[in-house]
Amino acid sequence: MKTPDLGRVDAHEKVTGTASYGADRVPDDLAYAMFAVATIGKGRTVSIDTAAAEAVPGVRLVLTRFDEDELRGPGFLMGGGFAFQSLQPLLSDVVAYRGQPIALIVADTLVAATEAADLVRARYEIEPFAVGIDDEGATSVLQEEALPWFPDVKVGDAETAYAASPVQIDETYLHPAQHQVPMELISSVVQWKGDRLVVHESTQNAGALRHGVAAQLNLDPADVDVISPYIGGGFGSRNALQPHIGPLALAARRLRRPVKLVIPRRQTFHTGSFRPVSRHRIRLGADPSGRLLAALHDADHQTSRHDLYPAMYTEITSRLYAVPNFGGRQRLVQTDVQTPGFMRAPNEGPASFAFESAVDVLAYATGQDPVELRLANDTATDPVTGLPFSSRHLAQCLTRGAERFGWQKRDPRPGSMRAADGSLVGLGVAVGAHPVLVAPAVARMSAGADGRVTVGVDGHEMGQGIRSAIALLVAQDLGVPVQDVVVRVGDTRVAPQHLTAGAWGTATALPAVHKALRELRKRLGAGDTGTVEVAAAVRATGHGSPEVEVTSVGPGQPPEMLDRSRAGLFSAAGPVFPDFTAFSWAAHFVEVRIEATTRRIRVPRALCVADCGRVASPVTAASQVRGGVIWGISEALRESSEVDPRFGGFLNTTLEEYPVAVNADIAEIDFDFIDEPDLLLSEVGVKGLGELTMIGVAAAVANAVFHATGQRQNRLPIRIEDVM
């Protein structure tokens, strides 16, 4: 059954400006906060002069240090904790990176808080620092030694098989650091209601915020509410507790006033995570026909001094093709920055850029068509585990895509195609994959005498359309109008609110909602299928508003994972499940044009054919594809966070100096879905889409640029000077 086209259920709020994001609250007696930040690359504060700041009229509080017993460390998300990094500013004199907060100012007005923050002066003891992965002082560790629970992928004997391969490709790729820059700034309104702490903050992980801030302040998590109905873009930047919330809560308690903090755009480049720099050496061994015999993927991956943010690049590069021998080796390079972290397609984006660029090199080295070479290396089983893939329609994505894109009209010779205006034309292809992860979920569903159905479930609405997908599922199942379905997500008052990321949101929430529907039907005395007259059925039960609660876990996940999720801890599982391995798959086709005189690179059209299981909500899925492809174009041609070798930290910390794709950069983006439910995974059959749609785009762009110019592009972003 195909899902009908129905719009986004919260579009009306969004076009009228009534959707309420973190900072869109102005409680009475609100005070405004601002951070002053460190201006050195590394060292310690010797003294902090706050006198001038305190003298600004309207300033109520200037805090430079908290006690360990009033504010504890939050723990690193990937190390069993709650926060994007373990380091909590304002607990010691240590400055680990430029831009680290050194004082918190709270004032009656925003202008007073801003003025005061500018007046904070610190004296420092400066230490040498390293901000680039090749800088002196950067140190590296082998990931599988430092983090044995994130082992490298190894299959067969890749070194030997590579050495014996008749065709050898050996290429190194550099992917820059990048920042998520969602349009909504990092911001919170923090408020005490008696002993209850209420945090309004747009987050992808309300559960970690609740438990993390409770642990930091020694509160009962049950006394913390985190409310995040809408998120102005997440992309990984809001997937953990941020270090401002604890200090804000303490300031609000001292002042007995609600406090709002909107972190200025410049500061956001240092106050949250970012995509780390990574370097990838890809070696491919093949026979003369291009059949892969071995692949080796060595990655250097930036992290901070205080946390080891793991790399998982080889998780997908080992599975794109039937490679009998695979050798992964990932090194973590420690630098003096805040801890990097997840940004849309965190591992898969850079990994696919590198690997799929190398596969294109192999196609040219063996004289094969890049689509045909990929088809010839297809696999139905997971080469790493030997398990079947729960579903893999990648070959179909490629053939359908080639047909739809007009690939057969491509002259494979580099530099051979020109447009009427003299621009060089290049067509490129690449594939992508994203692991299917699922997390435990709790769903609570009630039906009212007015016929409305309310569902509260684990999940966060960050624009991907989870609210619409849930509403649609309920409406279709019960045969009720979609307007009669009320969806509550991102709210710790209705469900634990496990992290929504890795495109698992919908794949996690929908099975729980599906299960709740079965229970609700029983409570309403309705059959397992067919339309339900909700209002009449509710009245017949004699209860005001029958409610059911169900829990769900991913395939093979032990029920204890629910307890972890309820404790605000990371509890997702996959992509290897007991009986199968699950990935979503995509093929991307891109056309570039390079203007003859300016060498400006444009992308007039792109096509994505995706195998994401069942399409849960066609309208929002279409937008997800377009958004993901635009991210890929932006990754390939625009985005790079430059570090400052003189003073530490990042340099281009505004939306002007950190360009992202704008409307004029984007023309036609076509897409198609295989739309086959993955029933091994769940009854609902959805895999994941949000990240998949950008994975492979950058490689397709780079391969198209090669086709247009004959110049290989081994580093991103590709700029005019790279195609001179």
């Binding site: 719009g7 986004r8 919260d10 579009a11 009306h12 969004k14 076009v15 009228t16 400006g17 009534t18 959707a19 309420s20 900072a23 869109d24 609250r25 102005v26 007696d29 609100l30 009229p57 309207g58 300033v59 009656d108 007005t109 925003l110 202008v111 007073a112 003025e115 969602p182 349009m183 909504e184 700034l185 809408y230 998120i231 102005g232 873009g233 997440g234 992309f235 200025p264 755009r265 624009g463 991907q464 359309g465 929002t620 279409a622 937008s623 997800q624 377009r626 958004g627 993901g628 492809v629 635009i630 505004t654 939306l655 002007e656 992202v660 794709a661 704008v662 409307n663 004029a664 984007i666």
Partner: protein, 172 residues
């Protein structure tokens, strides 16, 4: 709609400023450093207008002053004395009926997270009024001051195109 915020501890040099917002008269004692954006959001609680950068780079804060689009984060509020400000809250009809451009945004799914959307709608209205809709390329250029990190650009362009074509038809 007048909301007074605490003036305790305000420095001297406040400027009494009156203007209209969505047709209603407002009057404040303003610090000359206060942006129109912050006055709209924090004093008037018109939070539909968003802050995405506070530096004039993103367009999330776009409003109309006397019918022309401006970024309200770079507009000192004292400068709008005597002018008419329109925000996203003033775009739909009083009975709640969406403006055709808002409806086109819904129909074309011209949004994801929705954070840039009020600014896109305000800029889109201006783009239409300015007549920068001859080609889709024109729309893209004249809408490029409004960033959308979710990448809803194709829907945004389609929504503006739809209204431009409707308007043309009614004019013919």
């Amino acid at each position: 709609m007048m909301k007074t915020s605490p003036t305790a501890g305000r420095p001297a040099g406040l400027v009494e400023t009156a203007f209209t917002v969505n047709g209603e008269q407002v009057r404040f004692e303003l610090d000359p450093r206060e942006s129109l954006l912050d006055v709209l959001r924090e004093r008037l609680v018109l939070t539909g207008t968003k802050k995405g950068c506070d530096q004039g780079h993103c367009g999330a804060c776009t409003v109309h002053i006397d019918g022309r689009r401006v970024v309200s984060c770079l507009t000192p509020a004292v400068q709008v004395a005597g002018r008419d400000v329109t925000t996203i809250e003033g775009v739909a009809a009083p009975d709640g009926t969406l403006h055709p451009l808002q409806q086109a945004f819904v129909d074309c799914d011209a949004l994801q997270c929705g954070y840039c959307t009020p600014g896109q709608v305000m800029s889109g209205l201006a783009c239409l009024a300015e007549g920068h809709t001859e080609t889709d390329g024109d729309i893209r250029e004249y809408m490029s001051g409004n960033l959308c990190r979710c990448g809803a650009y194709i829907g945004i362009t389609a929504a503006i195109r739809r209204v431009a074509d409707q308007t043309k038809q009614t004019e013919v």
